[in-house]
């Protein structure tokens, strides 16, 4: 039984990582109908930016700040202005394909300009572990979990309780009316992208010590987060964390009790079931169809 508990705990830890990545993904979809296939690479890149700054001689704390700012500039502002804006009015699909191409470009750029090898990445959480009900949990994983939770609570508070947050929601649900009412829609959408960029930069900082900095580490992460977002509820940010945790735990339980060869199939089967019977996800709201 202790082994089951241990699996659940470490599944939650991995799931927290998926959730962090899925949050930004859901946010972008919710507010600007952007499906970002490069989200995994968005989490991979800030770590490399920080490593590059360290290589240039700066101390780690400075590298974190510079890396985060660079991420916001590149993954938030530049991404929106250069890629999303020109394409968004033409529908969801061309932009989605463009983000696929973007993920290739990012991966290959890191591989060519930095290194094809995996790099160790220093952790801001102290190393070592803490015992929860007899099971050792690494402080790093706890850090990820805590941060994920804080991010979701913070985001929800922001969206529901502050004026900007409500404006953002208005801009997402009905841009035309929002404009009429005086909501600065373009600025709100830009804010979404900036928030996503900040989220992925912080996720990168927390996750890379565990995943290790490698140009390809965005692939599995991106796909897992994508599934987590759908399972949790594509149109609700808190769905992302539920989905992520569910996937993390399920993957572990499947590997231990079903079959390690088909471990990846269980979250996918769940995805199919959810789509067919509850398409809005575990906690999502039903999307209304406009006739």
């Amino acid at each position: 039984m202790s082994s089951l508990f241990d699996l659940v705990i470490s599944g939650l830890a991995t799931g927290a990582i998926y959730a962090l990545v899925a949050i930004g993904f859901t946010l972008l979809w919710q507010t600007s109908q952007t499906i970002n296939f490069a989200q995994g690479e968005f989490v991979m890149l800030p770590a490399f930016l920080m490593l590059a700054v360290v290589r240039a001689g700066a101390p780690f704390w400075l590298a974190i700040i510079v890396g985060a700012l660079l991420s916001i500039a590149i993954l938030g502002i530049a991404f929106k202005k250069l890629l999303v804006d020109p394409m968004l009015r033409h529908g969801v699909l061309p932009l989605a394909i463009a983000t696929m191409a973007l993920s290739v470009a990012m991966k290959e750029s890191v591989k060519q300009f930095f290194s094809a090898e995996a790099q160790p990445f220093p952790s801001i959480a102290p190393s070592g572990s803490v015992s929860i009900l007899g099971s050792p949990v690494s402080l790093q994983s706890l850090g990820v979990f805590a941060f994920g939770l804080a991010a979701v609570i913070g985001l929800n508070l922001f969206l529901e309780r502050t004026s900007s947050g409500r404006q953002m929601q208005a801009a997402a649900q009905n841009p035309t009316v929002a404009r009429i009412v005086g909501v600065p829609v373009e600025r709100m959408i830009m804010l979404t992208f900036v928030i996503n960029a900040a989220l992925v930069a912080l996720a990168s900082l927390l996750v890379t010590p565990i995943y290790l900095a490698k140009f390809s580490s965005g692939e599995t992460l991106g796909q897992a987060a994508f599934i987590a977002a759908i399972v949790g509820g594509f149109n609700q940010v808190r769905g992302a964390i539920i989905g992520g945790l569910a996937i993390g735990v399920l993957d572990n339980l499947a590997a231990a009790y079903v079959s390690t060869q088909y471990r990846a199939a269980v979250p996918l089967a769940l995805l199919i079931v959810i789509i067919l019977f509850r398409p809005e996800g575990l906690v999502g709201r039903s999307e209304e169809r406009t006739v």
Binding site: I17, S115, A118, P136, S216, T220, T260, R263, A264
Partner: protein, 377 residues
């Protein structure tokens, strides 16, 4: 309709693209430069380039310069086949790579049909059992290394039951299939057979299964990053089961990434930059100087391949692409005569390698050679 015409012509123009190669020794390296195998292929390529640079600086092979072109297989056998086809169309002196056994399998018949020698990095056992007279290894095939691992686990580790953890691709599965046959021969029982995915980050379930099996020892056969992660997970779950691997488990990179979780891990290693061999130390220094990182065993493979070509050509005394394979069969290259070959090696009729190997244990973050397994002949 005009655009259809232009498009059609453009298509054909592109298919025509071909280059005339110069008079030098022309080699083509078909490697995994992107995709899942990018680390393997990039290391191989870097090793190749370093060797070519050294040889050309020293006057070339029999006075001829070596020129290498690198083609990317994208870690996909279908693409590998196309790239090898392209390479063969230009009549190279020798074909290098690929590193992935699956890609080797699909490309070997093409090279053999064209009579071009192929020196590659794949380790699957079956590659040298296809009756291909043109294919050569640069590292131990799994059929050579796994018996040694199994023997060590049965005799030195005194394991009667083992758990096998392997990565689910042709590399990992090949190793697992080969070693389970060896365990069978030695009367060792496999009590847990655990497959993992490439790129996997969470090994909690797998380690839990290993612990639950109560095996005497565990054989762990994963790629580099995953080896580091599973070592950390073994430490986190305070597992005391002795761990044994083959080359990847105790790689330089793994030790760096896993930190002190790597201590105590053992492995049979064919090629390592930590070997107590002077020529290897020197090679490592030159590599680090040129590329700024320590190569893995794929880098050594690429380097060796070029020196194999040099040795075979020098034996023939002339440039004869058709004769390279025959020159290599049965050839023994001594490191004293050809320092670039790093360690004495003999090639047999099937393209397999006979060379010394090492049994290694990680102590205090360093690879310590516990045993030297000498060359068989």
């Amino acid at each position: 309709m005009k655009y259809v015409l232009t498009a059609g012509l453009a298509l054909l123009a592109a298919a025509y693209a071909g280059r005339a190669f110069a008079q030098d020794i022309e080699l083509v390296d078909v490697a995994e430069l992107s995709g899942g195998g990018a680390t393997v292929g990039t290391n191989f390529k870097n090793g190749v380039d370093l060797a070519v640079e050294e040889i050309n600086a020293a006057g070339g092979v029999l006075g001829h310069k070596i020129v290498v072109a690198h083609f990317d297989t994208q870690s996909n056998p279908g693409v590998a086949r196309a790239q090898v086809q392209k390479a063969l169309d230009s009549n190279p002196y020798v074909l290098l790579g690929p590193g992935y056994s699956g890609s080797v399998k699909v490309t070997a018949p093409l090279a053999a049909e064209a009579g071009v020698t192929q020196i590659m990095g794949g380790e699957a056992a079956e590659l040298t059992r296809m009756g291909d007279k043109f294919l050569f290894r640069t590292s131990f095939g799994q059929q050579s290394s796994m018996p040694k691992v199994a023997k060590y686990m049965a005799e030195d580790m005194k394991a009667k039951t083992v758990a096998v953890v392997w990565v689910n691709n042709d590399f990992g599965k090949g190793g697992r299939d080969t070693i389970e046959k060896e365990f069978d021969k030695l009367g060792v029982k496999v009590v847990a057979d655990i497959s993992t995915e490439a790129g996997q980050a969470d090994f909690a379930a797998d380690v839990a299964k290993v612990k639950a099996s109560e095996a005497d020892a565990a054989f762990v056969y994963l790629n580099e990053e995953e080896s580091a992660r599973i070592l950390k997970e073994f430490k986190r779950q305070a597992a005391t089961i002795p761990l044994m691997g083959e080359t990847t488990l105790v790689g330089q990179k793994v030790i760096e990434l896993a930190g002190d979780a790597a201590n105590g891990a053992r492995a049979h290693v064919g090629l390592t930059t930590d070997a107590p061999v002077e020529s290897i130390r020197a090679f490592r220094e030159r590599f680090v100087k040129k590329y700024n990182y320590v190569p893995d065993h794929n880098g050594i493979k690429g380097y060796l391949a070029i020196y194999m070509i040099k040795a075979a050509t020098e034996k023939m005394g002339k440039l004869d692409p058709k004769g390279v394979a025959d020159a290599l069969h049965g050839l023994t290259i001594k490191a004293a005569d050809q320092p670039g070959i790093l360690m004495d090696v003999t090639f047999d009729e099937n393209g397999d390698i006979d060379r010394q190997g090492f049994l290694v244990e990680v102590e205090n973050g360093r690879q310590i050679i516990k045993q030297i397994l000498p060359k068989l002949h």
